[in-house]
Amino acid sequence: MYKYSDFDTAFVRERARQFRAQVERRLDGSLTEDEFRPLRLMNGVYLQLHAYMLRIAIPYGTISAPQMRQLAMIADTWDKGYGHFTTRQNIQFNWPKLVDIPDIIDALADVEMHAIQTSGNTIRNVTTDAFAGAAADEVADPRPIAELIRQWSTDHPEFQFLPRKFKFAITGSPADRAAIRVHDVGLQVVEKGGQRGVRVYVGGGLGRTPMIGQLLRDFLPEADLLPYFEAIVSTYNLMGRRDNKYKARIKITVFENGIDAFREQVEAEFVRTRAEFTGVDQQILKEIEAEFAPPAFKNDPVDAFEAAKAVDPLFRRWSARNLTAHRVENHAIVTVSLKEHGKTPGDASSAQMRILADLAERYAYGELRVSHEQNIVLPHVAKADLPALFAELLRAGLATPNIGLVSDIIACPGMDYCALATARSIPVAEEIATHFKEIGLEDEVGKMQIKISGCINACGHHHIGHIGILGLDRAGVENYQITLGGDEGPAAAIGDKTGPGFAYDEVVPAIERILRAYLDLRAGADEAFIDTFRRLGAAPFKEALYGVSRDAA
């Protein structure tokens, strides 16, 4: 895992000192609320519905056991004993007091963490595949590049007041578990003629104008990463619209100017930025790469794992759902579900954080990941240790075997926390999860991504859910619009709107009609919902939702 350099340590300490002074200057009137706003945002402090919210970065989703324990300490000392893991590999605390936040920032710096640029019109926390460095299918671990981008973008003097927020995502695998096509810049590590580089997509994003990113550069050699990114962001800084907040994201800049004109500007700008970098960044990248060396994997045989699967049906079921192939044959990637049926997706109590930290130390070389599906991943576990790990997870209530199923829902905070929400999203997620478990349909339906947003800003990524649910306000009444056929990853697609929305209590029955239609229509048990949808289109599902007449009309 990456260890802070002396430079990093000095930086986060100094930044904490600056933020403490900013809070004091807000309180003594040196800074107006308007002026303080971007400064607190670039330090992760939001003003929510009920209180301030602090969003802490978990860079590229990687976190150590001691860091996880520190989050538990923060939850107990300054919040209500729990935290919320988000879709962008951050953790949010919803109840800190403004005057306490400088102390929290200091506590984060103690364990090489920070909340820098988790908000505001800045380059945000770079996200990646939660299985990075462990997955069997990756070209290379994308995290060294993510760390390089973190360093470059942190406090970048030109890019702290961009037209809007700016999100990078990077994947090391063609399977793209980082949803790169719906980010402002999406990167895929590729190799060409023995040379390492990235494929660059630009202008993807969700929100009120969802768009799939377009190809900007098919192959960018590793040596040119930073100058090229700098060319993209500085072009955007000047070209991006500042007259209308809803048209300020780079997706609109690219859309309005056209990808070819945008590329031309970037490439021209790249000539200038390329000349600025001397190559020291490549040296630093090499040093970063060394920090991400994998742990010394154990050699234990897998017999005990196979034997436990043969005799224990619970373990067998969990293994089938929550394990992913590891690059080392006798290891597995474990996903610990934070989606227990009926609970808030992504929430973890301080007790659970401590248990996870302990288990990571005992069974996973001390390393944990936060996935963008809001679960916790133990990236390296010897198969021999899985039965013992499972038993402990079971005792702690963390063994829900639902990864990739109906109840593994992504939901934004919605009306329960968010000042912008037009509808509830967490209770909808809870009811869907509980209902399909109760009627026993969850396992039968199999692979399914349901994503829920509480307003048009789409933080719950509903556009790219196989089933997307968007909560709106229709004359003071919650109304939920359903989209179908969205997807992330290599086949990224924006879901189709089905038709008129549904009242709060009609949502679960509507989802059930879709799922039952799918079970009738699928070619076999191994055809997932999204594949049936692609084969047949939206029509039969609309019919299931609204009846035949509407479709004929």
Binding site: F7, E14, R25, E158, F159, N237, R242, T278
Partner: protein, 125 residues
């Protein structure tokens, strides 16, 4: 009136030469021309609001285009943005009097250490 901020604190206006204005919405294509036209004098880049970060990129580009004269950021820039302006190639910042009264000299001197702790500078080499 306005106050000029440099690494050693507040100053009254002391520039006597030519000033070429650089609006915040300067087109990318116009940067090279401005850098040449302003050479030997001052380029004064407008910051219409503290939330508008275009000026930082304009400053960087003017420097890269070869401008070696006095480069000034002018507008309601915050003390917290002083380091960003210096790192983007500006020599000084010109702020309105009321802002200088609300954010006195010590708050600007707090960031006179802008050469320290810059990831961007470290990576550039």
């Amino acid at each position: 009136m306005s106050v000029i901020v440099r690494d050693d604190g507040f100053h009254a206006e002391d520039w006597v030469g030519e000033i070429t204005e650089v609006p915040a919405d300067t087109a990318i294509a116009a940067v090279a021309g401005l850098a040449a036209a302003g050479q030997g004098g001052m380029l004064r880049v407008a910051f219409p609001s503290f939330a508008d970060g275009r000026g930082f990129t304009l400053g960087r580009r003017l420097r890269d285009a070869g401008f070696t004269g006095r480069l000034r950021a002018a507008g309601p820039v915050l003390a917290d943005q002083y380091a960003m302006a210096r790192r983007s190639g500006f020599d000084e910042v010109e702020i309105p009097d009321d802002l200088a009264a609300r954010q006195p000299e010590d708050q600007w001197l707090f960031r006179a250490d802008w050469r320290e702790g810059s990831y961007r500078a470290r990576l550039q080499g």
